[in-house]
Amino acid sequence: MKNIFNVKLYLQALKKIKLLGIACSAITVVISMLIPIFDLLKELEDKRRLGTAQFHKLYDQANIISDGIFSPMLILLIIFTPFFFFSMFSYLNKRNESDFYHAIPFKRTTVVVSFSAAIYTWLWGTALVSLLINTLLWSLCESFSFSFLLVPKLLGIVCFATLYFGAFTLLAITLTGTPVSSSTLALILFCLFRVVTFFFTSIIDNHFSYIDLTKSYLSIFSTKYWFPVAFLRGFFSDMSVFSNAALWIWSSIVVIGFFALGIHFYRTRKSETASKSAPSKRLQHLYRLAFTLPFALLTVFMAFVENDFSVILIFLVLTLLAYYLYELITTKSIKSMLKCTPYLLVLAAVCAVFSGAVFGSFAVFSNESTAVEDIKEVGFYEKRSELFSFEDRYYTLSYEEMTTNDLTISSEEARKIVSDAWLRTKEDSHIFYSELYQTRDVLIVRPSGRSIGRRLLFTTDEFNRLEDLLLSSPEYNNAFLEIPSEKEFYDGSLRCCVNDAQNYTDFEINKKIWNLFVAEYNELSEQDKILFKQNALPDATHYRITGRGDHHSTAFRIDYTVPASFVKTIEALQPLYEYELDDQYTMMKDEFERCKQLDFKEGDYSISIDGYLLCNNVSGPVSVNGFIEPVSEDESTRLAVEKIIAFLKDHLATRKEFQNNDCGMITLQINHFSSDYYTAVNIPIAKVPYTDAALFKETCSNISYEKDTEAMIFDIRQRMKDFLAKGKENCELNVHFKTYYDNNDEDPIWFDNALHYDGANQSEFETLENAFDWLDSHIVAAYDYMHGDYQTVTLVLYNYTLEIEEILEIPIGAKIPREDFDDFAKRTFGEDYNIQKEE
């Protein structure tokens, strides 16, 4: 121990980085405190505004703090970590300083360990202090609660993260002799492996996009096991990513390995390395190659995925630039820069090996057998992430999706269907979206027991049959009807709520309610259980139970609506949420009152009942200029509002109707022109007879906007003329529009086209005028426009002389016959116009 750590040296090291330490602590602690302080101030303000009694009524059950907001600013410590290492070991970059520290009477191991310990004292001390202060502040917030276990968990994760980033930095510093080379090498060590694997798997993925690489031997390269990604993703959310044991094992190996290497290279480091970019010429070549490798591999990547030689050439030049610039910057010698040219061959050789590995993988995947006898079992699964996604691309699975995920069957018929689909997909791997096929991720178990995932193209018949075969499996049914156990939920994640309101109940109460809920669920018949799981029970209430958890290391979520038949659960929930319902009902009534006072001039309004749009763009005249939307005159608006208010007044839901969810909802969506945002006002209405609702819709629809629309279309024609006048010289015009044609009454097909027009040529301009004539003659009629029966042509004009960009949207008829469209296309684009089918 004496040779590893020295207290006196450690104390001196603490002093050495005192300034940075104090700055880091002050910044981190103060910024971290701001979140709870803001909440505390808000709470004080609420108390002042509502009065303490009302406040306590509202917040008698505290909101649980999610892991991500408890102290998110601790992330700053990760940023500070490299700075601490660079500051502490900066002497390794200067000859006299390096000599000084190498002359002191301590073993080098003692120096590096004691100095690192000082760095971590500052970092971890700051984390601890910050967390303790935040714990205290959050404890003072009466409207929030949290589990104290969160504190050591956060502390542990932050401490590990600082170790992780510190290990890379230390190793880089000990292997170099200048700040530039240290920083560059740290970056190389940090991400080179990931960059190489990223390019490798991306090429494979690009070539065989139906293959799920997360279920292949390449899955070891997944970012799931890369701590920085896991940390950034998990630290600000629920930290479920940290439950991955493989992540910790791999990351710990990396940390221990890199620290051990860092210490070893510090011990063997020559003091004269200071101020040299690398300890030896051989290492300088190695660093330069490592630095340039990502650029070179990017070129290789482009060569595989991009057919355009000019793009490849650009990346090749970029690679050479990176190669020579690295040498120039790190050695500051043009002679060295020129002398490193022969080593480009090594870079080329590395790229050749990389390409060979890619071709090898191509051969492996191309030759994989799709025969039925090579398929043991098949099943559907949810592909939730990509190998290199920053986070799971898709949502967390529901408990049902998770329990049934990866379940397979061995039916001969199912295997045959998959075999056929697989072969088809391999042969037509470029087809992803087709009306003939539908895609689905399929789990295929090989006779060896190895599971692979393929996104296969199925015909509708194949797909339905495979689904039926799967659903007929008892194992699948049992899994589908499973319900999570209380222990599987993350701490504090189990929540009860009414509608979408925040949860204020205590976790212990929630657990009791959950147990009541489970007991009542277990009493249901199998058929009812299926209906419940499909959210198809007819007696759904406002009450919901939500939660997140972990089932055998797989995250899941639940969001169950409590049915009215769950009497005991409802009885337990009702008293807890009485005030909440009151509050919601009162709020909505208030909104109704507010609705009466709206002057309908600040924006435009769309009105819907239970999501069904009644009328759109009810607006005052202020919205006319600059917006191609049908707008109402004052009189029309007044009439619409009058009808709405009258209808609401007659049909406002009672408290009881609201509580029992026995009501509808009118939504007024307000688009504020001035500030470009919208708000929605929800008002509960009683369930009215259909005829009554239909009458309301009719009265709203009968409000005429046609006059306003005509005026606006006139305005569009005027603007088209102005637009054309601007486009005569030195400009480029892009025309984007979608159209479709009636093709023997088949479904319409959409197109997207663009015209690139250079105004320098008068004949081209005449062509353009023709196009404008065509557009002018096809401008939509006011009635169709008002009813949304139109399509929009977008013209984007870049005038290089005036340096302006102008966009004009022209509404034209929705259904244009093919012949008519062809006429326009030929007049505008010439004979070689190109119609691209929209994907």
């Binding site: 001196q12 050495k16 000859r95 006299n96 000599d99 002191i104 009477p105 073993k107 003091s271 004269e272």
Partner: protein, 299 residues
Amino acid sequence: MIEAVGITKYFENFKALNNLNCKIPDSCIYGLVGSNGAGKSTFLRLISGVYKPDEGTILMDGQPVYENPDVKKNILYVTDDLYFLPQSNMKRMADFYHAIYENFSYEKFNELTETFKLDPGKNFNTFSKGMRRQAATILALAAKPRYLFFDETFDGLDPVMRNLVKRCIYSDVLDRKTTTIITSHSLRELEDVCDQLAMLHKGGIVFESDIQDLKTSLFKVQIAFGDPFDQNKFPDIEMVNYSQKGSVANIIVRGDRDAIKAKLRLMNPLVLDILPLTLEEVFIYEMEALGYAFKDMID
């Protein structure tokens, strides 16, 4: 005792020290002279444990130096390009030295700062080059090491301070029997301070001697006779160098001064003067005798 045996040190392809051998006895002030790039600083770094020799061994009292804290705690190496902790002052550095050198004496430190009239609370950034050099010397002496190595330590010091530093080094050697090595590219700087002198050239010690022996064993004789003569007139005298202009000869002689003087007097010369040599002259003649072009070695 410091013992270097067959030391070779490479910097990539450049051989900075080439099979260097030397023995430096305890309690002496050892001067190491040589031109820039001769290997003086490299030698000091090697015996301070900063560098590891590529070949050969360095022993201090029979113990290897490199990665040996028990030996290194007795060594203090004052580098040519001085280093102090960033934004620090002498007090902060004393605190640092106190932590890493167990013999560090605040009493000595205070005494020396008083002697040198330096403000220990002042930031080093406000110190001149000479003041920084004095501060480094104070800190080194206050650490009370058994071995003190100074690299170009008189650089930037005015004559008064140079003498003061020298006096402090003397008294430290006298009081504590410190073994001190001082390097310089200027012989004159070392002339009055060292017990032993060695000349380093192209990575090797080409000459090493006790300074007193050097100064007394060689001397200059100016002699003239009434009759013509040449160097064959002095067959019993060991001449290192002989030159004659007219009837006056200048002879560099090795041997016992009084005995040779008596012998020459018996030849009835018209003029006989025995003159002492400067250390530089001694070196020139000794090196020439060894076959080296001395002026190539010293600035």
